[in-house]
């Protein structure tokens, strides 16, 4: 047992536990709080995958900005506790069963993948892999147009959110 495997196990277990809390919590506030902790544990997993930059983005954008937006809306709407599950309608039962089936199929397929540790990288790749400099260089040389398109998308989303949520323009 090496330390990386232990860390992975701990983070994976905590991620699944808090994801389960997101689904089964009674009040939406509890769901949102469990979602924040899920994002933090996922950031830990990203660091284990040498994706430091994405881990930082995860904490700043997801656990910071998006969750503040969620909490703001929950508190604005002032919702009380709601039953976790209402009447088990046919559609809901079929949906839940289909999800479990999907998990079984995915598990069977993924267990057939060749296992073993990930291939080792060269020392030069290893030193620069996942750093902010490498990521920025890749985005601003090969992915410049998609990057600008995403900035436009965020602008459109911002304007659209204001237009939709405002009662009268």
């Amino acid at each position: 047992m090496n330390i990386e495997l232990i860390l992975f196990g701990a983070f994976a277990l905590l991620t699944l536990l808090s994801a389960g809390t997101v689904i089964f919590a009674r009040s939406p506030i509890n769901s949102a709080m469990a979602l924040v902790s899920t994002f933090f544990f996922l950031a830990g997993l990203y660091v284990l995958l040498w994706a430091h930059t994405v881990a930082i983005l995860q904490v700043m954008v997801y656990a910071g900005a998006i969750m503040v937006l969620f909490l703001f809306v929950i508190m604005l709407l002032n919702l009380g506790e709601s039953p976790t599950r209402g009447k088990p309608t046919l559609a809901r039962l079929v949906g839940g069963a289909a999800t479990v089936g999907l998990l079984v199929v995915l598990g069977i397929v993924l267990l057939k993948l060749p296992g073993g540790a990930p291939p080792t990288m060269s020392a030069a790749t290893q030193a620069s892999f996942g750093t902010m400099a490498t990521l920025g260089q890749t985005i601003f040389t090969q992915w410049l147009l998609p990057f600008e398109a995403v900035s436009l998308l965020l602008l459109v989303a911002m304007v659209g959110a204001v237009v939709v949520a405002k009662s009268r323009i």
């Binding site: 937006l69 709407l77 949906g95 289909a98 993924l110 267990l111 291939p119 990521l135 985005i139 989303a157």
Partner: protein, 100 residues
């Protein structure tokens, strides 16, 4: 070193949990949170494959997914507010018609 299939299995489990929440929960806000779980499962898969191939393109994809998730949350929550204002409920079962 953690084998890559472990990460893929975890991502599959997370995705299915998110999908289960989307199917089963009635509160639209919790449904949105479950969509975020599914997007994070996709990110985990991207990063696992990036680590496997030693290529940062997976990181760029995860970056774009995070940006799209941010705009999805903004628009989705604005729609929830608009629906709550017109109907006084955020339960997805109450949204049967597109009309007021």
């Amino acid at each position: 070193m953690v084998p890559i299939p472990y990460y893929l299995l975890l991502a599959a489990a997370l995705f299915c949990m998110g999908m289960f929440g989307v199917m089963v929960r009635r509160n639209a806000l919790v449904v949105f949170m479950c969509v975020e779980l599914m997007l994070n499962a996709a990110n985990l898969t991207f990063l696992a494959f990036a680590r496997m191939h030693g290529d940062v393109i997976g990181h760029v994809s995860a970056f774009f997914v995070i940006a799209v998730a941010a705009s999805e949350a903004a628009i989705g929550l604005a729609i929830v507010i608009a629906v709550f204002r017109s109907r006084g409920s955020v339960l997805v079962e109450d949204l049967r018609t597109m009309k007021h």
